[in-house]
């Protein structure tokens, strides 16, 4: 028993006993100026560090318990508090426990003599060369050609010059329209004033040329350009769903409920709010898009299924230099 007590006292003295300062460098002038002790600040730092340790242990505990492990809030709180306590302790150390000195130092100056020596060194090293310019030309040729040779493999990244792919779509005369589950779109099932997304049957849905917006209007409401008069059977119009401005999906449809006070119907892209008038060939009526949405001519077959009657009126998707130069073509 007494042995245990002695051990406990020894441990207490070891942990809590304060070390006497030994002036080891007393014979030399101090580098860091002296300051007074601040036992209260020391205690506070100790408490903060223990808090930090406790919070970190809390993190491990939360992490380890199965039903707590996904409580992101507790995890963040525990780790954040641990760091916050360490931060507070360190700032206390900075403000109260170490000396705040004010030092001075000269701003560094340039070295004009060494600069000249460097220049001299380089110039003298080339003394023996008599055809400097010729050699430099040779070095330039080698460096340029090797540089080009090292860059050229980057062309494997993509078909740099073959921009034909931009004009390709899966549409041509006769391709059926399907919804996202592959179900055929029937003319009779298209309701007035509702917004449908359609794709080319059996084509990759993730191609820019594939998705369409399909909307139905009263034929009298449509004011399509004269060439497109028979592109909208039963008042159903179809446009590319990909905005001609920045390639987002034109996912918003504005359907006026009170035509007298509200603006007309519109297809709107939620990225930069390019606004297209579906009754007028998707003409841009507001926002940044520079081209109308390409229109797909539609036809209805004998079983009432909507089919393409050709390809789009213009290239699909965001514009590039020369976008208007060619018409879209079928990919297959």
């Amino acid at each position: 028993m007494s042995a245990l007590r002695r051990w406990a006292i020894a441990l207490g003295v070891l942990l809590l006993g304060r070390k006497k300062r030994q002036p080891r460098f007393a014979d030399r002038p101090r580098i860091v100026p002296p300051g007074d002790a601040d036992p209260r600040a020391e205690w506070l730092v100790l408490v903060l560090l223990l808090f930090a340790a406790a919070a970190a242990v809390g993190f491990i505990v939360v992490y380890s318990f199965n039903h707590l492990a996904h409580q992101t809030q507790y995890l963040g709180l525990a780790l954040g508090l641990a760091f916050a306590c360490v931060a507070a302790a360190l700032i206390l150390v900075a403000k109260r426990l170490v000396v705040t000195e004010e030092l001075e130092e000269d701003y560094p100056l340039p070295h004009p003599t060494t600069q000249e020596e460097l220049e001299q060194l380089v110039e003298e090293s080339g003394d023996r060369l008599t055809r400097k310019r010729l050699l430099l030309t040779g070095a330039g040729a080698a460096a340029g050609a090797i540089g080009a040779a090292l860059v050229v493999p980057a062309l494997s990244l993509g078909p740099l010059l073959d921009t034909g792919g931009f004009y390709e779509t899966p549409w041509r005369r006769g391709v059926r329209l399907v919804d996202e589950h592959g179900k055929l779109l029937l003319l009779d099932e298209i309701e007035d004033g509702t917004f449908y997304t359609a794709y080319a049957q059996r084509a990759d849905k993730e191609l820019l040329g594939s998705p369409l917006v399909v909307v139905r209007f009263e034929p009298s409401q449509l004011h399509l350009p004269p060439k497109r008069r028979d592109w909208a059977p039963g008042g159903v119009v179809a446009y590319s769903k990909i905005c001609t401005h920045a390639g987002c999906a034109v996912a918003l449809f504005r359907k006026p409920t009170f035509p007298v006070v509200e603006p007309g119907p519109a297809l709107i892209c939620p990225c930069h709010y390019s606004t297209f008038d579906p009754t007028r060939g998707a003409k841009v009526i507001f926002g940044p898009a520079g081209r109308p949405l390409p229109q797909l001519p539609l036809a209805v077959d004998s079983s009432g299924v909507l089919r393409a009657a050709g390809n789009f009126s213009g290239p699909v998707g965001p514009s590039w230099s020369g976008v208007r130069s060619k018409a879209p073509r079928n990919a297959s």
Binding site: Y63, H70, T72, G76, L77, L79, G80, F83, A84, V86, A87, A89, L90, I91, V93, A94, V98, V99, E102, L103, E104, E105, D106, Y107, P108, L157, G158, P159, L160, L161, T163, G165, T197, K205, E206, L208, S210, H245, A246, G247, C248, A249, C269, P270, C271, H272, Y273, G287, P288, A289, G290, R291, G317, P318, S319, W320, S321, V323, R324, S325
Partner: protein, 454 residues
Amino acid sequence: MIRAVVRYLDERSGTAPFLKKALRYVFPDHWSFLLGEVALYTFVILVGTGIYLTLFFEPSTATTYYTGHYLPLRGHEMSVAYRSAVDLSFKVRAGLLMRQTHHWAADVFVASIVLHMLRIFFTGAFRKPRDLTYYLGLTMLIVALLEGYLGYSLVDDLLSGMGLAIGYSVLMSIPFVGGNLALLLWGAPFPGKPDFESRMYVAHVFLLPILIATLLGLHLFLVAARHHTQFRESRRTTEKKVIGIPTFPGQAPRSLGLFFAVAAVLFLLGGLIQINPIWLWGPYHVAQGTNGAQPDWYLGWLIGALRLVPSFDVTIGHYTLVPNPFWGGALFPLLVFLILYLSPWLERRLTGEYGFRHLLDRPRDAPWRTALGAALFTWVFVVFLAGASDRVFVSFGVSYVGQIWVYRVLVVILPVVALFATRRLCLALQESERLGRIRKQAEAEARGEMPQPE
């Protein structure tokens, strides 16, 4: 113990004199000098949390179906990349904490770089001999913007895809070569070849972080090599001598404390405040879009610029020369960064000051620089606000079209107003200081004291 370590190091590296110099390196003290340190420490957290995320994220666009515990997504077709991001949020312990902390840290990283840059700009700290340091910092800002954009694009949720479509379109819109460049990067017309995901991934987790780290190293080396700038606080602070506290023991606990404070804030944000809940957006498909899509804050100025440009493509006959997104998405940021890069040179040319400048100006001390800077930042800020006009419409019902027209006018007028108003303000502040000095002197003389030289 200390002696043994020091001896070990010095005998093997000979760095004792260097270490002594480094420990007594002088830091002038001002709160605004810490903004750069905040950026540095945020970068450390980004690297740490980022490495953790790479251990679980799978950068692949291969198609898969979600079968996890989150019911709204069950059975949905999605990419492996998106599924692994959802899984690391829901299934991996502490995964969501790390992902959200990483995302918050990215936002704070760019914010602290921008604030640091504003401090540098408005105090004239970019003057010789620190212009090179400033160019490196600006370059880091550009890389950080790209890095952040790639980071949230990798996940392949709906917002990622919309952001990438916009990036693709802006690249496409560069006159003559845009289409070719887009094909080169994406490998095929949008959404591109599956390789594109790997390309983004290697850029986001390897190329760009290493580039930032390298630039950061050079930046810090140059800062230390030329010493810090300082404000003119007393008669002792001159162009010749830097005054402040030493690295050790003064600055080290302060700076380390700041590191832990930054870490604390980021992990508290990551744990307590939801950011980018990718499971709500769903996977990306080219035919889908969501209304009110907002990117991370640091891209707000670009989305604003894209939205403000009126509808036109520049065409010659049937040839399209400049597609619309070029103006807002490419030319605008290029112009802003060009002005920022040219500022030190322009200032030298316009003021004829070619000497070394170690003392900082207060903004009022250089009215023209402050005014021009205010005009530039007002310009960018108005465009930034325009990027939020759809949220203003949703929240307050203010007409979107009306707002855009107002911003189209403000974007021209406000910078000019800011220019002249700021210059007047600077001059007025100078004048009031001068009057204050005269009054103090007069009062002192009236009391019969000797006039005190400042």
